[in-house]
């Protein structure tokens, strides 16, 4: 049912033949080349890592409930925050939107039957599992205490934890990112349906394209850096340790050359999701399509030029620092372009506050705070006071959780009817979205104040005057945890008891809404021909405008 006439037909039935019914054996899943099944396996995997990372976060917040070092020892605390960071960044945040939503939707959104390299896609999943398994093994054996940044010379010379094994896990996992990025770039270049020109691509696809560029250019650098670290640690070649002729700041250059752009690997796909949500739930063509598309590319490019702002107090030359500080201000421009264009899209839009849109609006507020506090940290003078305080922790959580995780949840709710063919409970969805927003702010806003007051990060104990704000933060984390657990319950519930969603429950013009829910293995019965512009809500797109106006009665559970 991929033709235009199908839109808005409102037939709420699960098609018998779809990618989920194409084989029920374990083998049919483990050896599949279907991008949608691979995405589902990624979804399960990253959710498990998210839960594990969340447990570590809970331990951190419980420890910080009191000023004393009581629940965990200092050594254990070092391992707990390190492992929280490693699991969340390398095994959840980085693969989340590209590997789950991107894998599932990118081919469908451009009218392709699959990704260009399906076997490579499956290989990337196996590599991800291998890297993850090795890392989890190392964590269970005793873990690592270097911080997720692995700063030298502590990581190469002094730490007696499982640096090598975790480093190897991250090294292996990097290839998964590279292969996914490569696959997306080739697919977008070569597999677009007839009529799907570059400027008809959904902005989610543009964001994935920009992200993929960062993935294939940046990830090899972190892989080599971890390898150099291992060589120094194992063989004693002087690369980073000054005692044997190395330079520890070189490690920071190489590490941040990847790890700052990695922030954009995490947040750019989220921005792509938000572009979809803002336009579609405002039922209005997005404002400044080309500017948003090119701002994604600009973020990817400029993101590679600012890494030195992580090193202002490391001993880096002050002159290099001035250049990096200036470029950090520059990289804020394309992000601001997106924010202004999203706001302009909302203006006079026909906004519906469905669960995904609540997440999108939450994203705009939280990412705005995260982004603007990044400018504080890009200022060379102010950062002397703020470096390694909770201000930094709060800033990057506003970007990573307030931005990326919220966008991921918004995207997951938005495309859940397409992925599973069933609607979830809007009521519980909205409650959950609001709990996440409230819990998040209660958790992390006090940390801005704590950081500004001078509370350093990565310590298990702190002066008693900081306790009140830490209690707020821990209380907020509890609310946040409830907000995160709820979708797990009602989304699982919807798999069995949810109302059939129909092909196009939100009444939208995108290609993914012109096939069945769940889609067939080959995505479309016939290759679609695109004759309409992106986010075209007029009759040109073939939308049934009357059905769109009465959409609420179709989707409300």
């Amino acid at each position: 049912m991929q033709n235009v006439d199908a839109i808005g037909s409102g037939i709420p039935a699960i098609p018998k033949d779809n990618y989920l019914t194409n084989g029920f054996t374990l083998k049919s899943w483990l050896l599949t080349k279907d991008h949608k099944r691979i995405a589902i396996m990624y979804l399960i995997s990253i959710s498990l890592f998210f839960m594990a990372g969340g447990l570590y976060a809970s331990a951190i917040r419980l420890e910080l409930l009191t000023p004393e070092t009581d629940l965990l020892t200092s050594a254990t605390y070092n391992k707990v925050f390190t492992q929280h960071g490693i699991l969340m960044i390398f095994f959840f945040l980085i693969p989340s939107i590209p590997a789950v939503l991107g894998n599932f939707l990118l081919p469908i959104m451009i009218g392709a039957k699959d990704l260009a390299l399906p076997r490579i896609n499956l290989l990337s999943l196996y590599i991800y599992w291998l890297g993850g398994a090795l890392t989890v093994y190392a964590l269970l054996q005793g873990g690592v205490d270097t911080g997720w940044t692995f700063y030298t010379p502590y990581s190469t010379t002094f730490s007696n934890s499982y640096v090598m094994a975790v480093g190897l896990g991250i090294f292996i996992n990097g290839f998964s990112s590279i292969l996914t990025g490569l696959n997306f770039i080739v697919t977008i270049h070569t597999m677009r349906a007839p009529g799907m020109t570059w400027f008809r691509l959904p902005l989610f696809v543009w964001a994935q394209y920009a992200t993929s560029l960062v993935m294939i250019l940046g990830t090899p650098v972190i892989a080599i850096t971890v390898l150099l670290l291992a060589i120094e640690r194992a063989v004693g070649v002087g690369i980073f340790d000054p005692a044997i002729g190395g330079d520890p700041i070189l490690f920071q250059h190489l590490f941040w050359f990847y790890s700052h752009p990695a922030v954009y690997i995490m947040v750019l796909p989220g921005m792509g999701v938000i572009s979809e949500l803002i336009s579609n739930f405002s039922r209005k063509k997005i404002f400044g399509y080309e500017f948003i598309a090119f701002s994604s590319i600009a973020i990817a490019v400029f993101g590679f030029l600012v890494w030195g702002h992580h090193m202002f107090v490391s001993g880096q030359s002050i002159y290099a620092g001035m250049v990096f500080s200036f470029l950090t201000m520059v990289v804020a421009v394309p992000s601001a372009i997106k924010m202004f264009n999203w706001s302009a899209t909302l203006y006079k839009g026909s906004i519906s506050y469905d669960t995904p849109m609540l997440y999108a609006i939450g994203f705009m507020g939280l990412f705005l705070i995260g982004g603007l506090t990044g400018l504080f940290l890009g200022s060379m003078g102010l950062v002397v006071h703020l470096t390694d305080t909770y201000f930094v922790v709060s800033h990057f959580h506003y970007v990573m959780v307030g931005g990326q995780v919220i966008a991921y949840l918004g995207g997951l709710h938005y495309w859940w009817p397409k992925i599973t063919g069933r609607m979830y409970s809007e009521f519980w969805g909205k409650i959950s979205a609001m709990l996440v927003f409230i819990g998040f702010n209660l958790t992390f806003f006090p940390q801005f104040i704590l950081g500004y007051m001078g509370m350093p990060r990565r310590y298990a104990s702190y002066p008693a005057e900081f306790q009140v704000l830490n209690i707020f933060s821990t209380a907020g984390a509890s609310v946040l945890a409830v907000g995160f657990v709820m979708p797990l319950i009602y989304l699982m519930h919807s798999l069995f008891y949810g109302k059939p969603a129909g092909d196009n429950p939100w009444m939208l013009p995108g290609l993914e809404w012109r096939t069945t829910s769940p889609p067939p293995t080959e995505n479309f019965e016939k290759t679609p021909v695109v004759t309409w512009e992106a986010y075209e809500f007029g009759e040109e797109s073939g939308l049934d405008l009357e059905a769109a106006r009465t959409r609420d009665s179709v989707t409300t559970v």
């Binding site: 650098v221 030029l305 890494w307 030359s317 002050i318 002159y319 290099a320």
Partner: protein, 110 residues
């Protein structure tokens, strides 16, 4: 050069050619090892040893890209991507070296 070449394998250098390139790579590695014993830093200029090692590495990398990765026979788009990636690598070196070259200048010293 063309897609046809890519499909048929015509224009590639064949096994003897590949072994030849491999031999060049091995020779480059050995040459790098022995050149590290020459005191070029003392006789030419500081950093000359490193420069020579990097030059050999760059030559080896070019051989791998052109022949093993088939860039030589690939469309212009692939050439553009390869050159762009080198430009991107240059960014990493340039900005890192901007730190090293100016670190000894102190804070706004004359």
């Amino acid at each position: 050069m063309s897609d046809k070449h890519m499909e048929t394998g015509e224009g590639h250098i064949g096994y003897p050619g590949y072994f030849g390139v491999f031999a060049i790579l091995v020779f480059g590695t050995i040459f790098t090892y022995f050149s590290s014993f020459w005191d070029l830093d003392g006789t030419l200029f500081p950093g000359a040893n490193t420069l020579l090692a990097l030059a050999i590495a760059f030559f080896k990398m070019t051989c791998v890209m052109l022949f093993f990765m088939h860039v030589y026979w690939s469309p212009r788009m692939i050439w553009l991507s390869a050159v762009a990636s080198l430009f991107w690598l240059a960014i990493m070196f340039a900005y890192t070296m901007s730190d090293y070259f100016t670190r000894s200048l102190g804070v706004f010293s004359v």
